[in-house]
Amino acid sequence: MSERKPVIQFEDFSFQYRAQAEPTLRGINLTVYEGEKVLIVGPSGSGKSTLGHCMNGLVPAFYSGESSGSAFVLGQPLKGLGLFELSEMVGTVLQDPDGQFVGLTVAEDIAFKLENEAVEQGEIHRRVAAAALAVGMDKHLGDAPQNLSGGQKQRTSLGGVLVSDASILLFDEPLANLDPHTGKLAIELIDRVHREMDKTVIIIEHRLEDVLHRNVDRIIVMQEGRVIADQPASELLRSELLGQTGIREPLYITALKYAGCELREEMKLERIDELQADQCSAKLQAWQDTQPEEVHSQECSPLLEIEDLSFGYEPDALILQHVSLRINKGEMVSIVGKNGAGKSTLSKLICGFYRPSSGKLKYKGADMRSDTIKERAERIGFVMQNPNHMISKTQIFDEVALGLQVRGVTGEELQRRVHQVLKICGLYPFRNWPISALSFGQKKRVTIASILVLEPEVMILDEPTAGQDFKHYNEMMEFLRTLNREGMTVVMITHDMHLMLEYADRTIVLADGKKLADDTPARILTDASIVEAADLKETSVFELAKRAGLPEPREFVSRFISYDRRVRGR
C-alpha cells in the first residue's frame, strides 16, 4: 500500500468559472492512486462535474475560468497540459449517450479517436475490433445510432475511450439516461474493464445505491465546492453524512435504520448481495410487526379508459399490442418499462398526436376519437421530459400565459389565472424573470405551470425527475403529490424505481408493446419474473428482507414503503 503511485493529485485547488461570482471548487485536496476505483458523489451544484472537467481538460479549454492551487495528472502539472494531451491520459464517457455519439456507425464512433490521431487504417480496424469485443458491441459494428438502445450507445462510447491508451477512465453520470437493468449492466461492465484492463476508474454519480452494485475502493463526497468526506463505502454508509448532504442512501440502509438496527462494519453494508443481516432479523421482524397492514382504499371512478389499443406505423409492426388499462380519478399512477416498450407511444396516443390502429380511448366514458389534440389538451396535460422542448417564450409570464392566450383569454382574467398557477408552482416571485435565468428544475416547473394553467384533470409527465438530484427529486415529487391531493390525477412515465416505490399508488408495466402487469409497486418490484421481463430491478429492501431470513419479505417491503411515505410526507 505504501508504494501506491498517485495518478491524479489536487492540492488546495480552487476554480471559478468566468461567468460566476463565486468559486465552484474551493480548496480541493484529493489524490487518486493508480488502479483505484473511486466514486465521487454530491448534490447538483456541489462541483463534482466541474472537478471531472478539470481532470479531463474541458476546464479551462472548453469552459473558461480561473484556478489556483496545484493539480497533477500522471505527475505532470495540469496547467501545462492542453485538452489534447490530457485526452491521451484521461478517457471520458459523458452523460449524454446521443450527443457524444459522433460517428455514423458504431465502428466509426469507436474509431474516432484513432482517426484523429491519423493512425493507419489497418491498425484502426484491428484496434476497433478489439475494443468493440471488450464492450460487447462486436456484433453491431455497422449499426447506426438510431437503431441502438441507450445502453448500447453508452457501451460504444466506452469502446471509443478504450481504443486509446488512456490509463484513467472518467465516467460523468453514467447512469443518468439508463433504465435500472441497463444501469446495472453498465456498472458491471465498468467493473470488468477496471479489473481486466488495469485502468484507474473515476465515476461521478449521485445514484449511490446503483453504483454500489459493484465494489468501489473509496467514495468522495462533495458539497458546496469542497470535499467533505473521502472514505470507504462501509464507513460512509454508517455515518450520517449522506442525509446531511442530500444524497439518497441505499434503501436497505434506510430500512435497517428504521428498524433500529446497529450498522456495523462486519455486516458488509456496502454490498447488498453480500450483506450479513442475520443479527438484524429479530429487529426487522419486530419492526414489521409494529407497522400497520397496508389498506387499499378502493375508490374507483374511471377517468381514462383504454380498451384493446394497438398502434404501429405499419400494420405488421405493432409498437403497442392490445393494451387495456384504466386510470381512476385522483390516482397517482406510474407507467414503467424499458426503452422502446411503448411508454411514450402510449402517452402520445392518449394526447391524440397519433391515431390508434385499433382499439378505443375513453375519457369519462365517452369515446375520444373525434376530439382534437387541442380539445384533449384541456383535459389531459402532457409534460415532456426535456423542458427545453416545451418552452417557446423568453419570459416566464408569457410562457405560462401562452396556452390561455391562444384560447382567447385576455386582460385581467388572464393575469389572474397565470398568477394563481405561478403561486401554486412556487414561481410567483420569479414571474418577471427571463426563463434563461432559471435552473433546470425551475424550468421544469414552468412547463408544468404552462400545462396546469389550462386546468386539466389528468397530467401525464414523462420522466418528471430525470436529471435532478435527490433534493430536487424530493421537491418535484412532493409538489406533484400536493397537486394530487388537491384532486389532480397524475400519470408518471418513468424508469426510476425509487419514484414508483415512493410515490405511485399503482404501477403499470409495459414490455415489448404489451401490458405485462398492473399492481402496487411493492408487489411488482418483488416479482422476479416481471422484474426480468421488463428490465426493472428488484428493490434492495426485498433483498434485505430475504437475506435477514424474514418469513414474509414481500409484506416487509410494502410496510416499509407505507412507513417511508408517511415519514417523507411529514
Binding site: F84, D98, V102, G403
Partner: protein, 276 residues
C-alpha cells in the same frame, strides 16, 4: 420512423466497389457534360452507357421508384412549360421550319421543336441514372472520407458526416416540440390562417434552436475530448483505397469530357443539326 427513401444499401456490385471520391468526380463531370451538350449522338451514347452502369449496380427498383416517378412528373411539367412558353425554340436553334401541324395562334408543332425537346429529354435521361446511382451506392460513412480525399478540409468533410448523423435526432426533437405546441393550441397545420400559422411555426423554432445549440455544445465537447482538430491530417475508418477499377472509371469520364469538347469544336456549336 417512416419508410427509408433513396438511401444507401449495402450491396456488392462493381459500382458499389468504386470509392466515393471516384463516384463524386464522375457524377460531377458527367452532369456538367450532359448539361452543356445538346449533341444527340453523344447524348445517346451516354444514355446507353448510364443504363448499362445502372444494370451493373443491382440496385432494386423499389429503392428509387418513388423518386423516379417524382422526377418523371417534373420532367413532364418541364416539357409542357417549354412548349407553352417557347414553341419555336427549336426553329431558332436549328434555323429551319418543318411544320407538322398547326394548333392555335402561334402554337404549331414543328420537327425542330420536337427534336429540341427530344434532346432535352435525353439530357434528363443521361443524368438521372447517374445521380440516382451516386446517392444509392455511396456509403454516407465513406462520403466524408471521399470529400477529404478530393481536397476538402477534413473539418468541413466531417461536418457533412455530422449533419447526416444528427438529422434524425433533430427530426425527432422537432416532432416532440411540435406535438407539445399543438397541445397548447398552436396549430401549424393548414387549418390555421397563414399569418398565424407562421407565428406558430416561429414558436416551434425557438425551442428547436435552443435544444440544437445545447446539442452542439455536447457534441463539440465530446469531439475535442477525443482529439478532433489536434492534427493537420486525419485518417478515416471507412476510406476505401483507389483500385484499378477507380482509375478505369476516371479514365472513362475524362474520355467523355474530351469527346464532347471535340464534338462541340468540330460542329462549331453545342447542337447537332440534322436539318441542314
Amino acid at each position: 420512423m417512416k419508410v427509408q427513401m433513396l438511401s444507401y444499401k449495402r450491396l456488392d456490385s462493381p459500382i458499389h466497389r468504386l470509392t466515393g471520391s471516384t463516384k463524386l468526380i464522375f457524377f460531377a463531370l458527367w452532369s456538367v457534360v450532359s448539361m452543356i451538350t445538346y449533341d444527340t449522338r453523344s447524348l445517346l451514347v451516354m444514355f446507353l452507357f448510364s443504363l448499362i452502369m445502372f444494370a451493373l449496380s443491382k440496385v432494386k427498383y423499389q429503392d428509387y421508384s418513388f423518386v423516379l416517378y417524382l422526377i418523371l412528373f417534373f420532367f413532364l411539367l418541364n416539357h409542357i412549360a417549354i412548349f407553352l412558353f417557347s414553341p419555336h425554340e427549336g426553329n431558332k436553334i436549328y434555323g429551319t421550319t418543318h411544320e407538322l401541324f398547326h394548333i392555335v395562334g402561334w402554337y404549331s408543332v414543328t420537327l425542330e421543336q420536337l427534336f429540341y425537346q427530344f434532346n432535352i429529354m435525353l439530357k434528363y435521361l443521361t443524368v438521372v441514372p447517374i445521380a440516382l446511382l451516386f446517392i444509392l451506392t455511396t456509403d454516407p460513412s465513406e462520403f466524408a472520407a471521399s470529400l477529404n480525399r478530393i481536397g476538402v478540409s477534413y473539418k468541413i468533410s466531417y461536418a457533412v458526416a455530422l449533419a447526416m448523423r444528427y438529422i434524425p435526432d433533430i427530426q425527432r426533437d422537432y416532432q416532440n416540440i411540435s406535438f407539445s405546441a399543438q397541445a397548447r393550441g398552436l396549430d401549424t397545420s393548414r387549418k390555421e390562417k397563414l399569418f398565424k400559422r407562421l407565428k406558430n411555426v416561429v414558436a416551434i423554432l425557438l425551442p428547436l434552436t435552443l435544444s440544437s445549440v445545447e446539442r452542439i455544445e455536447v457534441v463539440s465537447a465530446a469531439m475535442e475530448l477525443r482529439g478532433f482538430g489536434r492534427h493537420k491530417r486525419r485518417t478515416w475508418y471507412n476510406a476505401k483505397p483507389f483500385t484499378a477499377r477507380d482509375y478505369a472509371a476516371l479514365a472513362v469520364i475524362v474520355i467523355v469530357v474530351a469527346v464532347s469538347i471535340a464534338l462541340a469544336v468540330s460542329n462549331g456549336s453545342r447542337f447537332y443539326n440534322p436539318f441542314v
